[in-house]
């Protein structure tokens, strides 16, 4: 006999199969999505770094680039030198962005899993595919930063504490110091005022000395001018005498030849001319002795000027600020007597 299923039962079976198939499809899609998200379908590139310790790093640790997940840690290997070689796999597309000085920074935020943050680097050369070795650093955790901050702040706080203690102990000294500083600043202001006055006086005195030196030089110039004038006068006198002598000679000749009676008068004239000639000689002789002495007097004047300037040079700035010393008597000395100054007669 043939069993016959009711139509309702067949329909339910189809519905169940359809739901199961849909569920399986959904699971497959989900698995594919997860695998995609984990980069199962990406082309991978491998790189590595050497760390002192593998603490906080494990297989599967996420590798990020600019905050995006680009790969994972794929292997840890302890080397003979007790360092750890950490291998990473990242998307091949991102590998191309890494430079030769790229580094992986270990980051561990509070309550979050540790990650490796790739820093692409700025070198001109790209990261070698044959030896993709990158650098590695650890960024301090919040605890480490706090500990570091504490170690730095503690001595400062200790110093502040000691300082405030010292200040409290020496409040009296500080008050005295402030008073002293106040007094010193007032004295400084006074000193500045006095120095200004002093500088003004120095300028005045220097000006006076300059004018005295100028006056001395003017005197020297005047003496030179006088010398020249005297020499010119002497020359003029000599020139006057020359023609007079010539005239006298002519007069004598004419008198001797043509006017014997006037010989006596001519003799008188000659005598007068001789007087003139003698005067001329006297004038020229005076000039001859006067000119060198006048020239000699220029030297002392120049010496005076030199002495004055020398004095200014040697004594400035202090001595010129003092009034000139009063006239002093030359020292009394028995050698001043002529009798003691020259060899005694025998």
């Amino acid at each position: 006999m043939k069993s016959v299923q009711p139509p309702k039962s067949r329909s339910m079976r189809r519905q169940v199969l359809a739901v199961l198939a849909f569920g399986a499809l959904l699971a497959a899609l989900l698995a594919a999505g997860v695998a995609y998200r984990h980069g199962t379908f990406w082309n991978k590139a491998e790189l590595y770094f050497i760390a002192d310790s593998a603490a906080g790093i494990g297989t599967g640790t996420t590798v990020r680039l600019s905050g995006f997940r680009v790969g994972t840690v794929t292997g840890l290997e302890l080397r003979p030198d007790h360092k750890v070689k950490v291998s990473l796999k990242i998307n091949e597309e991102q590998f191309g962005q890494l430079r030769a000085d790229a580094t992986a920074v270990w980051v561990k935020e509070q309550l979050q899993a540790a990650t490796l943050d790739l820093q692409p680097g700025g070198s001109a050369a790209a990261l070698s595919k044959h030896d993709p070795h990158i650098g590695f650093t650890r960024r301090g955790t919040l605890t480490e930063i706090a500990s570091d901050l504490r170690s730095r702040l503690a001595p400062i706080l200790d110093d502040v504490k000691a300082l405030t203690g010292t200040v409290r102990e020496r409040q009296g000294d500080i008050a005295e110091l402030v008073r002293n500083a106040n007094a010193a600043s007032q004295e400084l202001a006074g000193a500045v005022k006095e120095m200004r006055a002093l500088a003004a006086e120095a300028r005045t005195q220097l000006g006076a000395i300059g004018s005295r030196a100028q006056a001395t030089l003017d005197g020297a110039r005047a003496t030179m001018a006088g010398t020249r004038a005297t020499a010119a006068q002497a020359q003029a006198a000599m020139q006057r005498v020359g023609p007079l002598l010539g005239q006298a000679e002519q007069a004598l000749q004419s008198l001797n030849g043509a006017l014997p009676p006037l010989l006596e008068k001519a003799n008188d004239t000659l005598a007068g001319l001789r007087e003139i000639a003698r005067d001329g000689r006297t004038v020229s002789a005076a000039a001859a002795t006067g000119v060198p002495s006048m020239l000699g007097s220029v030297q002392p004047l120049l010496d005076d000027t030199r002495d004055t300037l020398q004095g200014v040079r040697q004594a400035w700035p202090l001595s010129t600020l003092l009034p000139a010393p009063g006239p002093a008597a030359l020292p009394l000395d028995s050698h001043d007597a002529m009798a003691l100054r020259e060899p005694a007669l025998r």
Partner: protein, 286 residues
């Protein structure tokens, strides 16, 4: 109250404060500027002293006269007295003894104005002028007056002893002259007057030569020569050599005497002292 300064900044602050203090101390209060008359007196006197040192007697006389006029115009008796003494010295060097006495007499006539110190110096200068007259009685009289007026500590003692020694020597009393000159040496040494000490030693040497103590005389004259050479005074160096030659002549050391005379001649010649050259030549030709 004590407080320490341990830090470097604190030490720098203290150093800066000390520096400021030193500057304030250096500044001091500005001195009062001299009046034109005071300045004229001082500058004329200083210029005259320079002219005197240069040997320019005319200029020195003119400038000391200006200094005297400036001092007289403000009744500055100290400055005026100094100018009068200096004028007397310049006149004496020009052989103008009458003018020199006139300058000194102004001081001696008004001791209350010029004070004891200037009065004593004027009297001593008068004694020196009388040595050149020569009037030895007057010289001794004024030396006595100067001694009486001299204010302690008297700085004129050595000069006055030398005046007396010279008078004794000229009057033919070399023993007294030696005693007085030896006193002059001590007084000059005590007063730190090296040039006057050399003068006294020269007188002592001359007196010792006359008394026949030629070895001591040679020593005294050598000391005088050493001092005058160190002071750079050519006229006195030549005198020391002349009297050393005289001493050697007394000892019959003619070669040595000639050598001293030739050295003196060289010094006089180099110093341009014609009278000295003539005097030494005269001695060499004897």
């Amino acid at each position: 109250m004590r407080w320490r300064c341990a830090s470097r900044r604190c030490a720098e602050g203290v150093a800066a404060a000390l520096l400021l203090g030193a500057l304030a101390g250096c500044a001091g209060a500005p001195k009062r500027a001299p009046s034109p008359a005071q300045e004229a007196a001082a500058t004329s006197s200083q210029s005259a002293a320079r002219a005197w040192r240069r040997g320019d007697l005319d200029k020195a006389l003119d400038l000391y006269a200006k200094a005297l006029a400036a001092a007289d115009s403000i009744e500055d008796f100290d400055a005026g007295g100094a100018a009068l003494l200096n004028l007397a010295l310049v006149h004496a060097r020009r052989d103008e003894l009458r003018e020199a006495h006139a300058r000194i007499d102004r001081i001696l006539a008004a001791p209350e104005r010029y004070g004891a110190a200037l009065h004593a110096q004027a009297a001593a200068r008068k004694a020196l002028l009388y040595l050149d007259e020569p009037d030895f009685d007057a010289a001794l009289q004024w030396a006595q007056a100067a001694q009486k007026a001299c204010v302690e500590p008297c700085v004129l003692g050595a000069v006055l002893s030398d005046v007396r020694a010279h008078v004794a020597l000229e009057r033919g009393d070399p023993a007294l002259a030696a005693t007085l000159a030896a006193r002059g040496v001590e007084q000059a040494h005590a007063a730190g007057q090296e040039a006057e000490r050399a003068n006294a030693l020269r007188l002592l040497g001359r007196a010792q030569t006359r008394t026949g103590r030629t070895t001591e005389a040679a020593d005294s004259l050598a000391q005088a020569l050493a001092i005058d050479r160190s002071l750079g005074l050519p006229e006195r160096v030549a005198l020391d050599l002349v009297y050393a030659a005289e001493n050697e002549e007394r000892r019959a050391q003619k070669t040595l005497a000639k050598e001293y005379y030739e050295r003196a001649l060289s010094v006089y010649r180099a110093a341009g002292n014609r009278r000295g050259v003539d005097a030494v030549r005269a001695r060499l030709s004897q």
